[in-house]
Amino acid sequence: MLKCGMSGTQVKVFGKAIQALSRISDELWLDPSEKGLALRSVNSCRSAYGCVLFSPLFFQHYQWSTSVKVNENDSKTSNLNCKLGMKSILPIFRCLNSLERNVENCRIFTRSDQCKVVIQFFCRHGIRRTHNVCFQESQPLQVIFEKSMCSNTLVIQPRVLAEAVVLFTSSQEEVTLAVTPLSVCLKSSSDEPMDLTNSVYSEMFVGPEEFDFFQIGVDTEITFCFKELKGMLTFSEATHAPIAIHFDFPGKPMALSIDDMLLEANFILATLADEPSRASSQQSLCLSQKQKRSDPMCSPNNNSKTGKNVTSKAPGCILRKTAPKRLYPNETQTDIPVLENCGSPIRKRVNGGDISEVPESSVSDTEETPGSSYLRKFSCMFFGAVSSDQQEHFNHPFDSLATASDTEEDMNNGRSSTF
């Protein structure tokens, strides 16, 4: 049961978050908890994930109560499990400037008996607008991404990033971020170097002094989807908070995040991986040479002009349902050969121990299509990164993952951040 209220100005920020998430996907999860109200979105190819968590302090009032269900396994709290279509919710938050002007109060609440979210705008002149949006019951997906474990972190004012983004045309699908300890370069990327069409290649070098925080541990070049970057950028301009970019080597997902007292936004984007042969030979990638596209595992709806799929990147991101599914130890055996292929850079980072002990994610419970085994590959990579960090959980990797997924309030894993 969710009940929250906000003022006109807060509605604008809330609406901007929804607009930014709409760049990722057509569906939005409304996921309230005692930590606050989280809006989550994942694209169909699982190569981009966005989450904006509004803390209770953001709202004028915020109430969240759960009904605790006890079933035969254990007791668990039930989430709202609310999935909304962007088509239904985006038009409600259109014309944010006029909403900010006219709306005095906005209330959002859910009715536990009906699958409905009610959004009410109390506007000037005594006008009250009520929107009833039906939702689908669906467990939200969450991504576990260890931001503090990334070798490279940049914090930049949105304005600077906006100035860089202006260089590229809206038809530019992907951009590459190339960093060294001395400079940062954002440039347009294209698959074939012999692309003789009219695409202009643009690049911008920014010096370290323009960043609020600059830490480069590994020289690297990562390529990711431009559209999703733009989505995050428009949201950050609304919050006036600096953007933090956390990343590593190509293939490993990157995080764009905003951390402000009242809200926390995280966009996890997959990055294009290098060919596996190269990845295994070097840990620090100075210049990625030929980049091969991983097998596309996108839905058939995705199409592209030049035959390349934006979404057919190496989806280094991992998705786990927040529902406490049991992890099945007997599936670990299948992981080992898979990890040989792609996991080597991560392997080197693990402080001893065997990644193969890490169990599979529950996402693999889905259909046994080639796509899911592909996803499994990367879920293991991810878990490797997580478990290496937690020495205390090392001998009980199941525990760390199980507890992380069981309850929303279990944050005692310390460095692992679930969002």
């Binding site: 009219n198 695409s199 202009v200 070098f205």
Partner: protein
Amino acid sequence: MKFRAKIVDAACLNHFTRVSAMVAKLAKICALRISPQTMNFILSDKVAGGGVSMWCELEQENFFSEFQMEGVSAENNAIYLELTSENLSRALKTAQNARALKVKLTNKHFPCLTVSIELLSVSSSSRIVTHDIPVKVIPRKLWKDLQEPTVPDSDVSIYLPVLKTMKSIVEKMRNLSNHLIIEANLSGDLNLKIETELVCVTTHFKDLGNPPLASEDASQDRDPEQMAEVRIDIRKLLQFLAGQQVNPTRAVCNIVSNKLVHFDLLHEDVSLQYFIPAFS
């Protein structure tokens, strides 16, 4: 072939950006001719362009603080490139508040015009922005199609009214018909007419003034009140007018009866000639 040039003056850079934006509105793909003294943006009257042609010329020393070029050969000391004009315009637009802009011809897998911009950012550190605009080198045998058009002997020559006014009128007329008749006489009258089955609309401009007659023997006994007219495609006229963001320093319209209309504009020091043929 070599070409490198640099602009350091902000006013020159803005002017060059405006010229490039104007060209981008007039021709999607155009030829760029680089010669020791001038730079030209050329659209030749191929059928694909609908017979419209354009010749835009600027003196390089009015813009560039440094300018070096080496043409195809000593006798043919020019470079002709074909490019998508919007690419250049967009690249130049990112150079607002630039400290310096360099353009050079490069070959990165394929020929490019590389625009390299040094931006001064707020934190007083400079940012370097580079754009590689793909271009095609136009071979010598095609150069003859890209020469300065000969100005035809026109029947009437007249100064144009404020282009913004003309544009808003033509925009409204566009909704009624695809053809427009421009007619003018030597008494300073210009009319824009559309005629359809249902309605005729004419806008009259008076007292525009006529430039002095160019040639000696053009003191023909032409009745000053007699109109010379040409029927053209209204969309082409609209495209031309839409490209003029700023009112030109000088704007002349030359009409060759039933053949073509020739617009001769001067934007400060940049000359633009635009030819629209009669609708056939």
